[in-house]
């Protein structure tokens, strides 16, 4: 049985570790999770991204969620941010497309042109 103090310590340690992970992350993948995104399947897209990162043992990418980005017709929409590089937005990202983007963009460093969506 753990005491409350133990749990607090675990929490603090975990938070510190998460902070380091976030700081060291090379890629930040954001999944738009507004009503529009969710209705278009963003939850499964996010599950696929997490699963693919885990399978490939990619440690330097973090996945976060955000609300509607204002391009509801392009959902599910994801953005990949990388230090010193332009943030790339991808539209109509099904789970299969998400796996392809992880393989091409994150692993091989090649933007998947077919699914790039220009926000401007």
């Amino acid at each position: 049985m753990k005491t409350l103090a133990d749990l607090r310590a675990i929490k603090e340690k975990a938070k510190a570790e998460m902070a380091t992970r976030e700081k060291n992350a090379r890629f930040r993948i954001t999944v738009a999770m507004g009503t529009c995104g969710i209705a278009a399947g963003a939850r499964d897209t996010m599950s696929a991204i997490i699963d693919e990162l885990n399978k490939r043992n990619i440690q330097d990418a973090i996945v976060t969620q955000t609300g509607c980005l204002g391009y509801c017709d392009q959902e599910p929409l994801i953005q990949i941010a990388q230090a010193d590089k332009q943030t790339i937005s991808y539209g109509k990202v099904s789970p299969e497309v998400a796996r392809k983007i992880i393989a091409e963009h994150i692993v091989n460093g090649k933007v998947v042109a077919d699914y790039v969506f220009n926000l401007s």
């Binding site: 998460m18 999770m33 507004g34 885990n54 509607c68």
Partner: protein, 182 residues
Amino acid sequence: MRELSLNILDIVTNSIEAQATRVILAIEELSSDNIFRIRIRDNGRGMSEEMTRKVLDPFVTSRTTRSVGMGLPMLNQQAMMSGGSVTIKSTLGVGTLVTAEFKNNNLNRAPLGNIADTVVNLVIGSLDVHFYYIHKTNQGRFCFDSYWMLGRAAEQDCSLYDLVVPAKETIRKNLLSIHSRG
């Protein structure tokens, strides 16, 4: 939405957008009283009385990217279709409580669906937010705390992503155990 777990993901995303650091999701399936109730409580920035009154109207939103907000209206519509309702209590600076109540056996009540994916994806997608999920049926109850995942990742010195599959399985297994008819 095909599953109530997708509506839940949607409403909790509102909480996160409202800068909540703590979200409590309580699901009660009380077949004895024919009630299926979902409560989402957050400590986000809250809404004014006027906004709280109007927020079930699809043409009202706090968002700036578009002028309609469908999340709560859709949940409300689904609740009303199954003989239930949505009520919202909110205090500026304190937080918001959304309660959706359904008639449990109503054919129009959407199934809960994949709540494990909803909860675990929320934990992964918003590490700063403390999620607490409690699920109650007439057979029993179970809780899932996002600190459990963070704590295990720290204890075992593994990536949080390694715990995604075990966490989802834990939720599914616990759900099964409180739905079994002994």
